[in-house]
Symmetry: D3
Subunit: 304 residues, 6 copies
Amino acid sequence: MPLFDVGQVVAALHEARDEWRDSQQRSREPGSREFPSREALAGVVESLKGVLFPMRLGPPELRHDSEDFYVGYTLDAALQSLLTQARLELRYMARHQPRPPEEIDTQAAEAVQSFAAALPGIRRLLDGDVLAAFQGDPAARSVDEVLLCYPGILAMIHHRLAHQLYGLGLPLLARITAELAHGQTGIDIHPGAKIDAGFFIDHGTGVVIGETAVIGKRVRIYQAVTLGAKRFPTDAEGNLQKGLPRHPVVEDDVVIYAGATILGRVTLGRGAVIGGNVWITDDVPAGASVSQASVQNAPPRHRA
Amino acid sequence: MPLFDVGQVVAALHEARDEWRDSQQRSREPGSREFPSREALAGVVESLKGVLFPMRLGPPELRHDSEDFYVGYTLDAALQSLLTQARLELRYMARHQPRPPEEIDTQAAEAVQSFAAALPGIRRLLDGDVLAAFQGDPAARSVDEVLLCYPGILAMIHHRLAHQLYGLGLPLLARITAELAHGQTGIDIHPGAKIDAGFFIDHGTGVVIGETAVIGKRVRIYQAVTLGAKRFPTDAEGNLQKGLPRHPVVEDDVVIYAGATILGRVTLGRGAVIGGNVWITDDVPAGASVSQASVQNAPPRHRA
Amino acid sequence: MPLFDVGQVVAALHEARDEWRDSQQRSREPGSREFPSREALAGVVESLKGVLFPMRLGPPELRHDSEDFYVGYTLDAALQSLLTQARLELRYMARHQPRPPEEIDTQAAEAVQSFAAALPGIRRLLDGDVLAAFQGDPAARSVDEVLLCYPGILAMIHHRLAHQLYGLGLPLLARITAELAHGQTGIDIHPGAKIDAGFFIDHGTGVVIGETAVIGKRVRIYQAVTLGAKRFPTDAEGNLQKGLPRHPVVEDDVVIYAGATILGRVTLGRGAVIGGNVWITDDVPAGASVSQASVQNAPPRHRA
Amino acid sequence: MPLFDVGQVVAALHEARDEWRDSQQRSREPGSREFPSREALAGVVESLKGVLFPMRLGPPELRHDSEDFYVGYTLDAALQSLLTQARLELRYMARHQPRPPEEIDTQAAEAVQSFAAALPGIRRLLDGDVLAAFQGDPAARSVDEVLLCYPGILAMIHHRLAHQLYGLGLPLLARITAELAHGQTGIDIHPGAKIDAGFFIDHGTGVVIGETAVIGKRVRIYQAVTLGAKRFPTDAEGNLQKGLPRHPVVEDDVVIYAGATILGRVTLGRGAVIGGNVWITDDVPAGASVSQASVQNAPPRHRA
Amino acid sequence: MPLFDVGQVVAALHEARDEWRDSQQRSREPGSREFPSREALAGVVESLKGVLFPMRLGPPELRHDSEDFYVGYTLDAALQSLLTQARLELRYMARHQPRPPEEIDTQAAEAVQSFAAALPGIRRLLDGDVLAAFQGDPAARSVDEVLLCYPGILAMIHHRLAHQLYGLGLPLLARITAELAHGQTGIDIHPGAKIDAGFFIDHGTGVVIGETAVIGKRVRIYQAVTLGAKRFPTDAEGNLQKGLPRHPVVEDDVVIYAGATILGRVTLGRGAVIGGNVWITDDVPAGASVSQASVQNAPPRHRA
Amino acid sequence: MPLFDVGQVVAALHEARDEWRDSQQRSREPGSREFPSREALAGVVESLKGVLFPMRLGPPELRHDSEDFYVGYTLDAALQSLLTQARLELRYMARHQPRPPEEIDTQAAEAVQSFAAALPGIRRLLDGDVLAAFQGDPAARSVDEVLLCYPGILAMIHHRLAHQLYGLGLPLLARITAELAHGQTGIDIHPGAKIDAGFFIDHGTGVVIGETAVIGKRVRIYQAVTLGAKRFPTDAEGNLQKGLPRHPVVEDDVVIYAGATILGRVTLGRGAVIGGNVWITDDVPAGASVSQASVQNAPPRHRA
C-alpha cells in the first residue's frame, strides 16, 4: 500500500479548482497561462538597472570602452522581453472585451517604444535622487555608496520605472515592478504615485505611499511614514469607487519624520516639517512645523 | 610566512565551540547534523504553491490538459521531502527522551498524510482570502493580480500551510515556513495563530500576529498592526509559562487600521473598527469604533 | 524598419551619463569598475556564518569529524575574498588622495588579519545573543530553533561582523554587510552602533538603530523600535557635522517595547522599561517604567 | 587610450558577415533567429528519457506511486517544447517556398502527435536492445547496469527517437538529436538508418552508420565499425545525387567485429560474421565468416 | 479538444513498462529507486580529483596554506557520499539474495575505508603516469600541462580510482566511474584491467582495454589501440562464461602504435614494439618489433 | 570512533605531494595557483563563437538590430578574460627565467590585440569551411545545419582560434582550446597544424592531426584518419628533439578516406585520393589514387 494516496488529493484539489473557476464564471480555458511573469519582469528590471547605471549596477567586468555596446545589447534584449510581457498584460486585460490581436500588438509596441524613450530622463531623475540622499544623510560617504547600498534608492529605481509603465497603460507590469522592490526593501510605493525630483527615503522599512499621492521636489521622508487614504469613497450602492484622488499632496521641500501617518487628500504645504509618529488628516500650511504634542491639542478623529 | 594564520583562528573557534557545547551539556555528537533544513522546506513550500494554484503559481509552460499530472507528480515529491523533514524534527525533539525510531517514523508519516488530506480545504480558504483582498482594495484590478502580487496573500499561503504543520505536531517546520514569508513580506504571523476565512492584510510590512491570537471571519488589517502579548505570564518561581492564551481575540468583520497595537487576551467585538495607531489593552465592544482621540480619554497604562 | 531605435536611446543615455560625470568632476575613468562587490561580500558573509556555526549554518552533510577541516578551508577562502574587497574599498577611498599601492595593500592585509583574530570572540558574543533570545521568548523551543529561525539573530550575526569591519576602517564593507541583513529581516542596524552582550530583538521588522547608539548588556527590544537622531548637528555654515554622538545610550537590562521611538543622545538608565509606541527625547532614570499614558502628561515636543 | 580597439574589430566582423550574407543571397533578415535550438532539443530528449524509463532515467526521488503523474506532466511539457522546435524547422525549410503559417502549424502538430503515439513502441524496442546487450556482453551484471552505463544504449535511445523524427519530416531535429549522442559517445548513427530490434553496439567509439543503412534483427557490432558509402553517386553534370541507397544492408543475426569497414549498397547475409578490421565492398553470403586473411585473397579495390 | 492526448500515451507507456517488469519477474517494487546515481558519483570523482591534486585540480582560489584543510573537508564529504552509493550498490546486488542490512552497511563502510587508505598510493601512481606522458611526448611543455590537458591522464585518474572500487567489490560504481571518463575522452578502460606504473596513452580516442587485461610498467599506447577478447568462452550449454582471463598480457616497456588490435589471452613480451594497425592474436616474443608487413606473412585468422 | 580516519589520509596525501614537489625541485610555492584556467578559457571560446556567428551561435533572442552591440560587448569581455589567461600563461612560462612583470603584461596585451585583429579573417576562413562541408556531404541540407550540427565544424572553429593563439606564443591556451573540442568531438587537431581554406572533416571521431602537419586548400578527410609522426627524432644522447617537421604535408584538393594512416614528413601531392584504411609512410604523387590493395603490393614497413 502506498504511503500517500496522492491520487485522492489530486482529485480533491481538482474539484476545489473547478468550484473556484465556476464561481468566477471562468471557462476551463484550454491552452496555457496568459499572464505576465514575475520572473521575466524581474529579469527586465535587473537589465534596466545595468542599462541606467552600467559602471555601477552592470556586470563587474564592464569597462568604459564598451559601455555603449553593453547598454545597446542589454537594452535591446530587455525591451524585447518587456514587449512580450506587455502583450500578455494587454491580452489579459482584453479577455472580457476581445480586441483584434494586431491592435493589441501595436499598443504594446508603442508603449514599449515610449518607455524606451523615457529612460534617459529617468536616469537624470535618479541622479537627482542619489544626490538628495547623499546630501541629506550625514552617514553617507559617497554617491557611489548611496547608489549601491541605500534601499531608498533601490525603491526609487523601481518606482520611476514602474510609474512610467503605469502611465503607459500597463498597471500590472508596474505593480509587479513595485512589489519586487517592496519585497527587498519593505518600502511600498504604489506605481501610480507622482514623485518629483530629488526625493529621499531614509531607512525606509514600513513606508507606504498610495496610488494618488503627489510629492513635490526635494521631499525627504523616513521609515514607517504612511501617505494613505482616509477612507474609500463609495458610490450610492456602497461599491468602492476606484481612481478618485484619495492620498496626500506633499509640496516641495517637505520633511516627514519616521512613523508619521498622513491620511486622505490633504496638502502638506511647501517646506512643512512633520514630526515623528504624528497623525495628520487635515491640511498643514506651508512652512509649519507639526510635532506630536501640537497635534494632541487637536486630536484627529478617524472613523473607518 | 603566510598572510593569515588560519590554523590559529581555527583552533580558537574550536575552543569557542567546545565552551558552548559544554555549557549546553551537549555530547560532542558524532555524525552529522540532525535538524530540519530551511532550504529543503523552502523547496517544499514552492512546490505546494504550484500544487495549490497550478495555472498561476506553477511552471509557466503548464497547460490545462496536464494540470493533474503536474499536481500529482509535484505533490508526491513534495510530500516525500516533507516526510524527511518531519522525521528530522521529530527525532530532534526526541533527543532528550529517546523513542523507538519506528514510532517516530509512523508519527511522521501520519502527520504528512493528514497534511496532504488538508490541502484541498486550504485551497478553498485561500480562494476566500483572495476574494476578500480583491473586494477590499480599490486598487485591485483582478483576482489574478491579487494572487500574484499581494504580499498579504503570500503571507497567508505560508500561514495556512504553517498552521496545519503546527497543529500536526511539527512546530519547527511550521516556524521555518512562517519565517520564509516573514523575510519576503515583513509580515510576521506565528504559525499557532488561528485565522478564519476571508482574511485580508493590506500592504502588510510590520504586521505581527502572536501565537495564541484568534481571528474571525472577514477580518481586514493594515500594515504595522500588532496583535501581541501584554506581558508574559510567569509561575511562582518567575519562570515564563508557555502556551497560555496571551494574544487578542478578533471577532468577525473587524477592521484594524495601520499601526494599531492590540495587546493581551482582549476581545475586539464583532464588527468593531480600530483606528490607525491606537493602543488597546482592553476589550472593545461589538460594533464600536475606536480612534486615536477617543482612546486618549482613557489612556491605557502599560507596564512591562 | 526596426521596432525600437535602440541606437538613439543608447546615445541619449550616454549623454545623461556624461552630464552626471561632468557634474561630479569625474574623469571618464578608463578601465574597469573599482568598487567593492555586493555579491562578493554576500559570499564572504555566507561563508563566515558556516565558519562560526559549522554544524548549524555550514553545509548539511558536514560531520563533526571534519569540522575543523571545513572551518579552515572555508575561512581561508573567505579571508582571501574579503582581502580583495578590502583593497577595493581602500583604493576607492584613496581616489582623491592618492597613496602608494603597497601602503593600501598592507593596510588591507592588517585589517583582515585583525578581523580574523576577532572571530572567536564574535562567536562567543553570538552564543550569548542566542541564549538571550531563548530565555526571553516563551515561544522558543530550543537554542537551535533560535539560531536557525530568528531574524533578530540573523541581523546580529551580520551586525557583529559589520561592526568589526567598521572599526577596522572598512565602513563600506560594513555597510554592505548590514544592508544584506536589512533586506532580509527589515532590521536596520548601522554598523557603527556599539552593542554589548546578550542582545535580543524580537520580531524585528522596522527596527532602526543609529550609527552612534550605545547598547549595554542584556538589552531586549521589539519590532519597530527606533534608536535615532533627533536632529542633525550643523556647523556655523549649516553643513551637516558628521560623526558626533547623536543617538541614544541604552544601559544594561533595559527593555524597549514595540514601536517606541528614542531620539537623540539621551540615556535610558539601567533596567528601565520603555512601553510600546512611546516617544522619548529625554533621559530616563534607571529602573523607571515609561508607558504611553505617563508620557502624555509631559508630551515631548519635537522640532526638526 | 583603450587597450583594445573593439570598435574596429566589430566593424570588420560586420563587414565579413555582410560578405557572407551577400554571397548567400540572404536578405538582411530583420527580426530574430528562426532555427531550431540545440539546447531546447537537448531538454526535450532528457525529458523523454525520463518518460521512457521513469524509475531509471527519471528524477532520483521518483516513486512508483507517482510514475504516471511524472510521465504525464513531463511528456506534456516535452511535446509542447518539441512542437515549438518542429514549427521552427518547418518554417526554416519553407523560407524559399513560402507556405501559409497555419499549414505549417498543422503539419507540426500532426508530426508531434504521431511522434507521441510512437513512444510506447520505442520503449519496447529499447527494452529489446537492453536485453541484447545484457545477453551479448559477458561483463554485464544486470539490465539496469546496461541501461545506465552503456554508451551503446544511450546512442540507441537517441537514434530510435531521431529516426522517428526523421520519418516525420523533421530531419534537422533528428540530426541534432543524433549529434547530441555522437558528442557523448563517439557513436555516429545517421537518423535515417533503419535498425530493427535487438541491436547491440559494444564499446562503440568510432562507429559510423550511414543514412540509408538497413540493419536487421539481433545484429551486434563493435567499436570503430563503419557502415558507409563507397562513393557518392553523381548525375550527368557531376552533381551529388541525394537520397539514393548507398549504405550496406545487414541482415538478421550478423556480427561485425571492431574496426571492420563495410562500404556501399552491399548485403551482409543472415548470420554472417565479419572479422575485425576487414574491409568489405561486396556482398557476403548468409552464414559466411569473413576474416582479415580471407579477405586478402581478394583484396578489394577502392577508388574515390 | 486538447492538442495531444497525453493520457492515452501515458497509459500505453504504463502498459509497456508492465510488460517489461513481468518479463523480468520484477515485483512492482513500491517505494523509490535503489540504484547508484551517476550524478552523485560524478560529484565524488570531481572531489577526489581535487583531493589528489589540490593546487591543480582543486578550486582556483586555493592557497598552499590551506591545502590540508581543503583536502580534509573535501575528502570527508566525498567519502560520505561514496559510502551512500556503496550501500546502494550492495543492496541492489543483494536484491535476489537478501542479507541483513547491518551486514551490508558494514561491508560498505569497510570498502570505503580501504578505498580512502589507498588514495595516497594512487596519487603516487598518477604522478608516475604524468611523468611518463611528459617524457614520452615531444609536444609536452610541462608536467602541469600534461595533468591539465591530456585526455590520457584524465582517463587514468578515473581508471585508478575505478580499479580500486572494482577490487573492493563495487563493480557498478567502478563501471560508472570508467564510463564518465569514456564519455569525455573516447578512452574505454574496463575497471578490471590491471595497469602498472608509468602508463601513457597518447591522443587516446578509440582505445579499448578489456576486463582481464594486464599491463606492465612503462607501457605506452596510442589512439585506437584495442586490447580485446578473441572470443567469449562458453560452457557446455553455450552460456557465456564470465570472469575467465580473455584479454592480453602486456609486459614492461612495450609500445603499441595507433590502431593496433591485440586479441585474446596472448602475451606481448617485455620491450616489444607493435606497429600501427597490426592485428595480433598470438604471443609476441620479448624485444620483437611487429609491423604491418611482417604480420601479413602470417595472416591471423579470426573466427567469432 | 569516527567512521573514517580522514586526518591520517590527509597526512599521507600531504607526504605524497611533498615527495612529488621535491622530485620536481619545486619550492613549496606560497600563495595561490598561477596557471591558466580551463573553465575561463571555455568561457572565452563560447563567447567568441557568438562573436563570430552572432545570429547562429549567439543568444537565441538576439535580433539583427543589435548584433553589433552584442558583438562589441561580448568581444570586449572575452578579450579581457583572455588577457588575464594570457598573463597567467606567460608568467607560468617565465617561472624558471624571471622577467619583469611589465614586460610580460605588454607581451600579453600585444598578443591579445593581434588575436582580436585576426578574428574577421578567421570568420572568413570558417565561412569557407562551412561551404566546403555543405558541398561535400550529400546529406547536408543547408549551411545553417552544417554550422550548428557538424562536429567537424566545431573542431575547426576551435582549431582556427587555437592556431592563432599558438602562433602568438600562447601554446598552453591553444592546447586547452583544442582539447575542449577534442573532448566534444573526438577530433584531435594539434594547434600547431597549418590548415588552409575550405577544409572538411566528415564524421570525425578518431581523427588525429599532428603539430607540424601542413594542409592545403579544399582538403577533405573522414573519420579516424591519422596525420601522425613516424618516429620521434632524437639527438645524439637519445633525447627527443622537439619542433622538427615530422608530420605529413597534404597538398590542395586531396581526399583521405576513413581510417587511413599517413605517417612522417611525407607529401600527398595535389589532388591525390587516399583510400580507406591504407597505411602510408612515403610520398604520394599528385593525382594518384591509393587504395588498400595497391598498397599491399608494396607493404610499408614500420619500426618504432
